[in-house]
């Protein structure tokens, strides 16, 4: 109970709604390949990363995608946004984020391709060649004002992810393969600036492989975990996700229009994408870890367990990733190190079944005690590629919570 403030639920009514759409680009790419519109590496394992590296080489593909999305052309109904949302937009104000590391000159080329393709649109390219982060908002507003009857497509890579508000934006396209959760949430938020009452921000995740597309997972799972945390009696992640999905709209785009994604489908796919454990890794509070522990975790071999479990995935990478333990020790905590620590914690969460099934103990602290009684600390150390004492501290210090283990391994 607060002394000075009362609850005003009318304020809750002001949040713009949000609809999330997973859009599968693979049929459009296949068609573009058949028509000979795609050259080089894009033919093999297509990715946004490859597109932005050589946009001219994949001009045919991008043109095809833009025409399908914004003009309903090309018989790619699963990309026709008007069909998906069941409405014909009169004047669009859309924003598209390309991969974070898209070069300025490449973004300029992409902007030109988009402008050539969508001649009834005003395409605004946001990069260091056109404006600055500080001036991006007024730059966009000015162009929108000068073109009151034209639809608008704003293209950006890094710029305007934060401190950029334009209430007219109600369509947002995430045109990158994988991205950290934080920046993805920032980008999604660009369509949540209130404008008129009843505004709905529509977010489209443009993916070449929807089975691996986890852009919406983090927000949904984190919400479910937050709710579980506030209601300690519940450890059922499926129920938590059901509650979340009942309050939001998340769709899969099909040739017959968008269909809602069911909870069962979402949970199954999220588990296979390891999104739940990643969300837990992200939520882990690492502030009590010493610098030595952070260094050890940051320099742990994240692929140690993964490589022994599955074949190399076709992630579209053209080079083999360097093992993390080749990196020099970095005594200072850097942004990159934090990401590495969280990734390592995620890996440990994902593989905690080694401890649980090996000891037949759901309580992880009891399981560790058992391991010590057996004198098997070295085995665990070898399995995880990390000092046993650090693994133990992660569980005993509640950095990896017992509740999460209960949720993931249905221990409760």
């Amino acid at each position: 109970m607060l002394k000075h403030f009362k609850l005003d639920t009318n304020r809750d009514k002001l949040y713009p709604g949000i609809e999330c759409y997973q859009m599968d680009l693979s049929p459009a790419v296949e068609m573009a390949i058949k028509l000979g519109l795609v050259e080089g590496e894009m033919k093999e394992l297509p990715s946004w990363q490859k597109f932005v590296a050589h946009p001219i080489k994949a001009k045919g593909f991008f043109t095809n995608i833009l025409q399908s999305i914004f003009q309903g052309k090309g018989n790619n109904d699963e990309l026709n946004v008007d069909l998906q949302i069941g409405n014909i937009s009169k004047r669009r104000t859309a924003m598209m984020f390309l991969p974070d590391n898209t070069r300025k000159d490449m973004l300029d080329i992409i902007g030109k391709i988009a402008q050539q393709t969508l001649d009834s649109y005003e395409v605004i390219t946001l990069n260091g060649n056109t404006t600055t982060q500080k001036k991006a908002e007024s730059y966009v507003k000015e162009i929108i004002e000068k073109n009151p009857n034209k639809s608008i497509l704003i293209l950006s890579a890094k710029m305007a992810q934060r401190s950029f508000s334009e209430g007219l934006i109600d369509e947002l396209y995430l045109a990158y393969d994988k991205g950290a959760n934080g920046p993805t949430i920032q980008k999604i938020s660009r369509t949540l600036t209130p404008k008129q009452e009843g505004k709905i921000g529509r977010v489209f995740s443009l993916s070449f492989d929807p089975n691996r597309d986890d852009k919406f997972d983090a927000m949904i799972i984190q919400t479910a975990l937050n709710q579980i945390e506030r209601n300690p009696q519940s450890t059922d992640i499926v129920q938590g996700i059901t509650n979340v999905i009942s309050t939001i709209d998340i769709f899969m785009c099909t040739k017959d229009g968008a269909i809602p994604i069911t909870v069962d489908t979402f949970v199954e796919e999220a588990l296979s994408r390891k999104s739940i454990s990643r969300a837990m890794g992200k939520k882990s509070d690492i502030s009590s870890l010493s610098d030595d522990m952070l260094d050890a975790l940051a320099n742990g071999d994240i692929n140690y367990l993964k490589n022994s479990q599955k074949e190399t995935t076709q992630s579209g990478k053209t080079r083999e990733p360097k093992p993390r333990n080749n990196k020099p020790l970095t005594p200072n905590i850097t942004d990159n190190n934090i990401e590495l620590v969280k990734e390592m914690i995620t890996t440990i969460i994902e593989n905690a079944d080694i401890i649980i099934s090996g000891t037949n103990q759901c309580n992880i602290k009891e399981a560790l005690k058992q391991i010590e009684e057996w004198g098997e600390e070295n085995t665990i150390q070898q399995e995880f590629g990390l000092d046993y004492e650090i693994i133990k501290y992660l569980f005993e210090g509640n950095i990896i919570k017992q509740e999460w283990i209960n949720i993931l391994y249905k221990c409760a």
Binding site: M1, L2, K3, H4, F5, K6, L7, D8, T9, N10, R11, D12, K13, Y15, P16, G17, I18, S138, K141, E142, E145, P148, R162, S163, N181, G182, P183, I185, Q186, I188, S189, L192, P194, M219, I220, Q222, T223, N226, Q227, N243, V244, T247, I248, K282, K283, D285, I286, S287, S288, N332, I333, D335, I338, E339, K342
Partner: protein, 321 residues
């Protein structure tokens, strides 16, 4: 306060042109009983644009704020239509463009802060702000943490949460005499001061920037008079930053530290370490960020964390509908 009433009221309004953010127009409008003040003020602004109504249609002109100045107009015997109560207020604000005009050479935000402070000083009742469900719940969670003796709290709060009002509300509930608002992003301070001067609950708070020449004197005086102080401290490196930190954390009082946009610049040890070194065991801190909470808190030892996502806000919306 701004709902339709069955009595006549006097309102003031402030608008600006988007392409001229450092000038604003301050005026008055008599709102008759039964009329919506916002619509009436909007009509007045449109009318005042004369043949340039296209500026309104194209949204080049933005109505930024309206104030109910009824009580104030009564107190200065100007409770009537066309009483020029705006001029009465304007004369106390200054920064007029020319000698007779209604344009002020101030940004709309700074003008808002000045009008808010003046009306507050002159006892014009200000609107009372309520908290959304998310804000209310999170504020309660933080106070629970503080009651448990957990003093350094990390808050990951999604877009549209309303962090500024929320943090101000927590500061008021915490009841520390001195609230230090700090950030690497200077625009944060203007947002805080606009919000903290707009609502009744924050009346009486003294706002002091540490960039003022005599900020030490002002803060000490206000605290000695038992006033609650909100002070603004930029984390951008500079020769005076450490002196300011030393002064603020050397005062014999309890402090509530708010770090806003904590994942942007403020998370680097060059910015955070001086605060970590200065903070006293009895002080409380709220480290706020929209995303990247791990980055935001990387150099702090966190006692507790709260987090909310946009989907949770939508959950509250569906319950409120």
């Amino acid at each position: 306060m701004k709902k339709i009433t069955d009595y006549d009221r006097m309102f003031c309004y402030l608008w600006y042109e988007i392409s001229k953010p450092n000038e604003c127009k301050f005026g008055e409008k008599w709102v008759q009983a039964g009329l919506d003040p916002l619509t009436t003020c909007e009509d007045r602004v449109k009318q005042s644009l004369g043949v340039r109504k296209d500026l309104w249609t194209s949204k080049e002109v933005k109505l930024y704020k309206i104030w109910d100045v009824t009580e104030y107009s009564k107190s200065v015997d100007r409770y009537r239509s066309r009483s020029r109560v705006d001029d009465h207020i304007r004369n106390q604000i200054g920064f007029r463009k020319g000698t007779t005009g209604e344009i002020h050479e101030l940004s709309y935000e700074v003008m808002t802060i000045k009008v808010n402070k003046l009306l507050s000083k002159l006892n014009q009742p200000l609107p009372i702000v309520g908290l959304s469900t998310g804000q209310y719940n999170m504020a309660t969670d933080i106070l629970n943490y503080f009651n448990e003796g957990k003093n350094i709290i990390l808050a990951e709060l999604c877009a549209r949460f309303g962090k500024t009002i929320f943090a101000g509300a927590v500061a008021l509930e915490v009841e520390s005499p001195l609230t230090i608002i700090t950030s690497y992003v200077k625009t944060v301070f203007t947002s805080f001061e606009v919000d903290m001067t707009s609502f009744e609950q924050f009346r009486g708070i003294v706002h002091i920037s540490t960039e003022d020449d005599n900020y030490q004197e002002k803060i000490s005086k206000a605290l000695s008079e038992g006033k609650k102080v909100f002070t603004y401290l930029s984390l951008c490196p500079g020769s005076k930053r450490q002196d300011r930190i030393d002064f603020l954390f050397g005062l014999d009082t309890n402090r509530f530290l708010i770090i806003d946009e904590a994942d942007f610049g403020a998370h680097k040890s060059g910015q955070s370490q001086p605060l970590i070194d200065a903070i006293k065991p009895q002080d409380k801190a709220l480290i706020m960020t929209g995303t990247e909470s791990a980055k935001a808190s990387s150099t702090w030892k966190i006692d507790g964390m709260i987090s909310t996502t946009y989907f949770e806000l939508l959950g509250h919306k569906s319950l409120a509908a």
